[in-house]
């Protein structure tokens, strides 16, 4: 398990070394802080995705939930609500979306792909309907601190990301809920037979994903100084990519948040490096696709050798 995680870390280090050799602009403190900040939103969404994928599911609705929680947050702030209330409202929207996903999957017995595909469209439509298609923008400095502020030179979005990962890591590795996430993904039937309340735990897993999407929405809204109903499109694919690069198996039952964090950083470093090098936008897409497939391929080969 540990060796696999290091495989991803080594990949990140190799990537960084290559970029350091190719451009003098990569390894500077300000650039590395940029990378961490740029990776934070994908990383936060991917943390929730990791819970879902370890449990053997998939959540395609995260990008749309980011948009819906974001516009709820924007609307509450513009209505003059204090920041904590607005954030609570936004989180509630995210968790409720996750709850609906979870209930459809556990009680309704829908495949996660279908349930969350439906939510992807419903939440996006709701965000557009609610805002009549227009972005909600212009917030005060206090709220924007979440994106523009920093503590001891560490940008606030990175702090949010680290806090999210610290809490999620403890939940996933130190609680019974966390153990059941792995158990459900490993063998759902056996877990059911051993008396675990599958429905309850599955529903909770999708709530975690909704919660993380809302957290990402808060950072994104502060960063853009605007809540856009069209925000977060394709975030689901970036989050799945980060999770899978990080060594979490799409079949469920194994994976780690540390791996996902490194996976998100690999994607962030790659995009940043390609920008710094001035690589053509079209070539960038090819490189990113190649790295995603390559990372998982290497991981699979390493794993096969070990067993």
């Amino acid at each position: 398990m540990n060796a696999r995680r290091y495989g991803t870390v080594i990949g990140l280090v190799v990537l960084c070394t290559v970029l350091w050799a190719l451009t003098p602009h990569f390894l500077t403190i300000s650039n590395l802080l940029n990378v961490a900040q740029q990776s934070s939103i994908n990383a936060i969404v991917a943390a929730g995705m990791t819970f879902v994928i370890i449990s053997g599911g998939i959540d395609l609705s995260v990008g749309s939930i980011v948009a819906l929680s974001g516009v709820a947050l924007g609307a509450l702030l513009q209505a003059g609500q204090p920041i904590p209330i607005a954030i609570a409202g936004s989180v509630a929207v995210g968790v409720v979306c996750g709850l609906v996903n979870g209930l459809l999957i556990s009680i309704g017995r829908l495949p996660p792909f279908i349930a969350t595909l439906g939510m992807m469209s419903v939440a996006r439509g709701a965000a557009l309907l609610f805002t009549e298609g227009r972005p909600v923008s212009g917030f005060d400095e206090g709220f924007r601190w979440i994106a523009t502020g920093s503590v001891l030179f560490i940008p606030a979005p990175v702090i949010v990301m680290m806090a999210a990962y610290a809490i999620a890591h403890v939940v996933l590795t130190r609680t019974t809920f966390g153990r059941y996430v792995y158990a459900i993904g490993g063998n759902e039937e056996a877990t059911r037979l051993s008396g675990v309340a599958i429905s309850f735990h599955k529903t909770a897993i999708y709530c975690v994903s909704g919660l993380m999407s809302a957290a990402a929405a808060i950072v994104l809204t502060a960063r853009l100084n605007s809540a856009q109903p069209i925000a977060g499109m394709m975030y689901e694919l970036d989050a799945i990519a980060a999770t899978v690069i990080g060594g979490t198996s799409l079949l469920g039952g194994e994976g780690s948040l540390g791996g996902t964090l490194v996976g998100a950083l690999i994607m962030g470093v790659l995009r940043n490096g390609l920008n710094l090098l001035g690589v053509s936008s079209f070539l960038q897409q090819i490189v990113i696709g190649g790295v995603i497939v390559g990372a998982v391929l290497v991981d699979t080969i390493l794993k096969r050798q070990r067993t």
Partner: protein, 320 residues
């Protein structure tokens, strides 16, 4: 257990190496080159409009002896990705930043960093939100573009004259909440509102895409068979609508007016399946962006607004 030791050790070594590199490289000065670098950040490069803009910019850059760096997000609406590109390019020590903002308010947060680094900003195609820019203290040196509202109005006035002020119009909108499309539609609506005989039967988004233009217009025609004129906020959607009209066997009976004057649209206009399209001149915009950037670098004054012409392309002019 022993097998785990190898990756663990190598990780440690690489980690330490990384740390050493981190601390030693921080002081490394950016490579200096006597050629100045102009960065052009586009909304996307998967649309002919921006490809033309890049061509114009490249022509001017080659002629004036500056290095041009062009970057774009994968999707036109991805403001966050565009902001990341701006942040990343600023790290490489660019001398001027020219940008077509994906979001007129949102992108301001990234431009603050350009102002902080004293990199002059040239805005192309889509204006910044004046209030958001002023609040953040971002002062672009010039704006180069043509007015989407005026373009929409031009299309509306053309429809009024073409139909003699009597028509039932179906509108294909871009992605909802997108400034460019919204301005074009406002211009169009304002122009046709003056003609009392023109009714807007339906207005639906087809998200800038050709296949959606086909589907949405096919559905629109089912619901409103009496539609005799289509205005699409972009040519790609107009071209989709033309296919839907052909599928319904009504080619020639429904007038189609688009926006952008793409090559395919010009061919359709010449062939008579499309009535007209509003032409913007992205090549000129790209050229003017780099020319202004070079002037700024030389300390010469540039006008606050450089307006690029708009033109109605009709059958008479499409063949050119």
């Amino acid at each position: 257990m022993n097998r785990c030791l190898v990756p663990r050790a190598s990780c440690l070594v690489l980690g330490v190496l990384c740390l050493v590199l981190f601390t030693s490289c921080n002081r490394q000065a950016p490579a200096s080159d006597d050629r100045k670098t102009v960065a052009l950040v586009l909304k996307t490069l998967n649309h002919p409009f921006f490809v033309d803009m890049r061509r114009g910019a490249q022509e001017a850059a080659d002629r004036l002896g500056v290095t041009l760096q062009v970057q774009a997000a994968e999707r036109e609406i991805d403001v966050d990705k565009q902001m990341q590109i701006v942040e990343n390019m600023l790290q490489t020590g660019i001398d001027v930043l020219a940008i077509t903002p994906s979001g007129s308010r949102e992108v301001v947060s990234a431009l603050v960093k350009a102002s902080g680094a004293s990199v002059p900003i040239v805005i192309v195609d889509t204006r910044l939100d004046a209030k958001a820019a002023a609040d953040a203290g971002v002062k672009p040196r010039t704006f180069i573009g043509s007015d989407n509202y005026e373009g929409g109005k031009l299309a509306g006035e053309y429809v009024v004259s073409l139909t003699g002020g009597k028509a039932r119009v179906g509108i294909l909108e871009g992605i909802p909440g997108h400034e460019t499309g919204d301005s074009r539609l406002r211009g169009f609506r304002d122009a046709v509102a003056k003609a009392s005989g023109i009714a807007i039967a339906a207005s639906q988004p087809a998200n800038w895409e050709r296949d959606q233009g086909f589907n949405v217009f096919q559905n629109m025609l089912q619901a409103h068979p009496d539609i005799d004129t289509v205005f699409a906020a972009s040519d790609l959607m107009a071209l989709g609508a033309i296919e839907a009209i052909a599928a319904a066997g009504r080619t020639g009976a429904i007038r189609v007016v688009g926006f952008d004057a793409l090559d395919d649209a010009k061919k359709a206009i010449a062939a008579g399946t499309m009535s007209a399209s509003v032409a913007q001149f992205p090549y000129e915009m790209g050229k003017a962006a780099v020319e202004s950037a070079v002037k700024l670098l030389a300390g010469e004054p540039v006008p606050a607004d450089i307006m690029v012409k708009l033109e109605m392309v009709t059958k008479a002019t499409a063949a050119k």
